[in-house]
């Protein structure tokens, strides 16, 4: 089991009031799975994504990622897990604007302490994987939106993480470019990568083999992507 969540809660105190973003979420993800996490805004999916990405720690519950008991780790150890186990792909790409595509992709390897020569080679290979080997020395503002997201995907792939964590990866792209990125995900899935994709777009969820739907901080549906997505298209109903 790659991911195991057991009764995860996450409460925030905002202005004296407790907001229960996650109210006991449990599910598991096997290696090589491609799971979409869907839900409307406020459903808790962003919080869940932060917990999965070890950027945030749950208020209670147990989270195991690739054998690591995440909730018991300190800040440095979490940084190491993020570096080694997770490849982040953000809606807004989050590339460093002053760095070239190649340096952006190299960055996680820098924090791993890898030698410059080796990490440059690996970064080039990762850019090759996303068909951007001819854009290595371009800065983000010299690239199109789709190209930027592909650089971000290369940056996520370069560490050979056990989990790719994508947050609305097509949210800032037009539909044709979005389609391009989804195809890339399909290829990565076929190549054996484990992917968690957070989205509010049913169309995107329908392309995933499995989808989990959150509502008010709880899992309300878990099944094949097309079915869960279809549920969402019709009126939401209570979990069976």
């Amino acid at each position: 089991m790659l991911i195991s969540l057991q009764d995860i809660t996450r409460h925030f105190v905002v202005g004296g009031e407790t907001v229960k973003a996650l109210q006991g979420v449990s599910f598991g993800v096997e290696k090589g799975e491609w799971v979409a996490i869907v839900g409307q805004s406020g459903s808790g999916k962003s919080t869940l994504m932060n917990v999965l990405g070890c950027l945030d720690t749950p208020t209670s519950g147990r989270y195991t990622l690739n054998g690591h008991d995440v909730q018991s780790l300190d800040d440095d150890a979490l940084a190491k897990i993020r570096n080694q186990e997770i490849g982040f792909i953000f809606q807004t790409f989050q590339l460093l604007p002053r760095e070239t595509a190649l340096s952006n992709v190299e960055l996680p390897l820098v924090y791993r302490g890898m030698r410059p020569k080796e990490r440059r080679e690996r970064a080039k290979r990762a850019l090759d994987q996303v068909q951007l080997s001819n854009r290595t020395h371009h800065r983000p503002n010299e690239l199109s939106g789709g190209q930027r997201q592909r650089v971000a995907i290369a940056r996520a792939l370069v560490t050979e993480p056990s989990l790719l964590l994508a947050d609305e990866p097509t949210g800032n792209l037009d539909s044709a470019t979005g389609e391009e990125i989804i195809r890339l995900f399909e290829q990565l899935h076929k190549a054996g990568h484990s992917i968690c994709l957070v989205t509010h777009e049913p169309k995107l969820a329908a392309r995933c083999p499995r989808a989990i739907r959150l509502s008010d901080g709880l899992v309300v549906a878990d099944g094949p992507g097309p079915r869960v997505a279809a549920d969402q298209l019709s009126m939401p109903r209570a979990a069976s």
């Binding site: 932060n50 440095d76 940084a79 993020r82 570096n83 982040f88 989050q94 960055l107 924090y111 302490g113």
Partner: protein, 408 residues
């Protein structure tokens, strides 16, 4: 891992300086001004000290001065010191016969008078009344002719030895030896001239004439109490010699056992202590001003670093998400702060040293700048950067990655 952090931190810092050139330059200016001020001040102080020490050496390095009073007054009360017995020829003879570390003993009395030759007159020349041994205990060297001898003093001869300025002014083109000069209208035969010796504060050793002690007393009746200039054989015997001389003087002056010394054995270094006491407070204040300037510069650094942290909140979030630890972020911003202030320090060092140099060229102040000062300048500036960078860096590292990634 820490090596990677340092290397990456340095690279990021330099790049960040490059992208905000104007801002960096302005911030750097504050530190540069502080360092320049401090270095110019330190340079001038070092120069003044060095020149004073050089002046002090004109007193003769291995000599002590026995007199009624301490140099610079010291802690003696004026009243008590006035009532002290004179230092006499008998006491000098006691020193001469009993002191085992002493190479020579010369009595000194002083007076001021006008010295003239033909139609040229020099006013207020220092007359030094002494004996033949003076040449051995002072740092005067004979240039031409001869110095005083035993019979000059014993017979109260009207002979005189001219110091360099007097000889050059009165005899610009002729040989002074054998000529007759007038000192306050008394005729004196010139028997020798002296090489340049230099100045001590406002006293010019080269605007002086040397004549037999008894002759000076005979004409002017001046200087009842002698100052004994005693040459000591070796520098390392100085303390023992002073000890011995104290005993000899107390016995010769019949100082009661229960009384403190009613005379002083002065060493040239005492003048240095006095000088340091007088100037120390002033230097402290000036250096304080320089430091305050540097602190103002440091606050500028802190301000700009806080701006930098805010501007790069998202970047910090991304770096944290990709596996940067808190200390990596801290190091990145600390190195940036140190780089900004280090550059400022380098500029300030260049400006400060140039300023010190210019000041020493156009004013009588002699600036003395040592190589270590340069490292001190850059190093000190970097330390200021480090110090004032801690808070902004800690703020950067304490950002919540989730919040930082969302920051617009």
């Amino acid at each position: 891992m820490i090596k990677v952090d340092l290397f990456e931190g340095g690279k990021i810092a330099l790049r960040s300086l490059g992208t905000n050139r104007l801002r960096t330059l302005l911030t750097t200016g504050g530190i540069a001004i502080g360092v320049a001020t401090l270095l110019a001040i330190v340079g001038i102080i070092q120069g003044l000290n060095a020149s004073f020490e050089k002046q002090l050496a004109t007193m003769g390095t291995n000599s002590v001065y026995i007199a009624k009073r301490k140099f610079g007054g010291g802690s003696d009360s004026w009243q008590e010191a006035r009532q002290r017995k004179d230092v006499t020829a008998d006491q000098m003879n006691a020193v001469k016969s009993e002191c085992t570390y002493c190479t020579a003993v010369a009595p000194n009395i002083w007076y001021q008078a006008d010295v003239s030759f033909l139609s040229s007159t020099i006013n207020a020349v220092q007359l030094i009344g002494t004996t033949e041994e003076y040449i051995d205990v002072s740092s005067y060297h004979l240039a031409k002719g001869r110095f005083l001898d035993f019979s000059d003093d014993a017979d109260q001869k009207s002979v005189v030895v001219l110091a360099a300025d007097i000889a050059e002014s009165l005899f610009p083109s002729s040989d002074p030896i054998g000529a007759t000069v007038r000192i306050d209208d008394h005729p004196f035969r010139v028997i020798g001239t002296l090489e340049r010796r230099g100045k001590l504060l406002d006293a010019n050793w080269d605007k002086a004439v040397v004549l037999p002690l008894r002759t000076l007393r005979g004409y002017w009746g001046a200087g009842k109490s002698l100052t004994l200039i005693v040459g000591i054989d070796k520098a390392e015997n100085m303390d023992r010699a002073v000890d011995q001389l104290t005993g000899i003087m107390r016995r010769a002056r019949k100082t009661p056992v229960d009384r403190d010394d009613d005379f002083a054995i002065n060493r040239p270094e005492q003048l240095l202590d006095l000088y340091k006491k007088l100037t120390g407070a002033l230097y402290g204040v000036i250096t304080g001003i320089g430091l305050i300037t540097l602190i103002v510069g440091g606050i500028g650094i802190m301000n700009i670093m806080l701006v930098s942290v805010r501007e790069r909140t998202r970047e910090i979030g991304v770096r944290r998400a990709l596996g940067a630890r808190r200390r990596t972020i801290i190091l990145q911003f600390l190195m940036e702060a140190m780089a900004v202030s280090g550059v400022g320090g380098a500029i300030g060092t260049a400006v400060g040293l140039s300023a010190a140099k210019i000041i020493s060229l156009v004013t009588p102040l002699a600036a003395d700048v040592q190589v270590v000062t340069i490292f001190f300048g850059v190093g000190f500036a970097s330390m200021v950067g480090l110090l004032f960078g801690i808070w902004p860096a800690a703020r950067a590292a304490s950002l919540d990655p989730v919040e930082a990634l969302r920051y617009e």
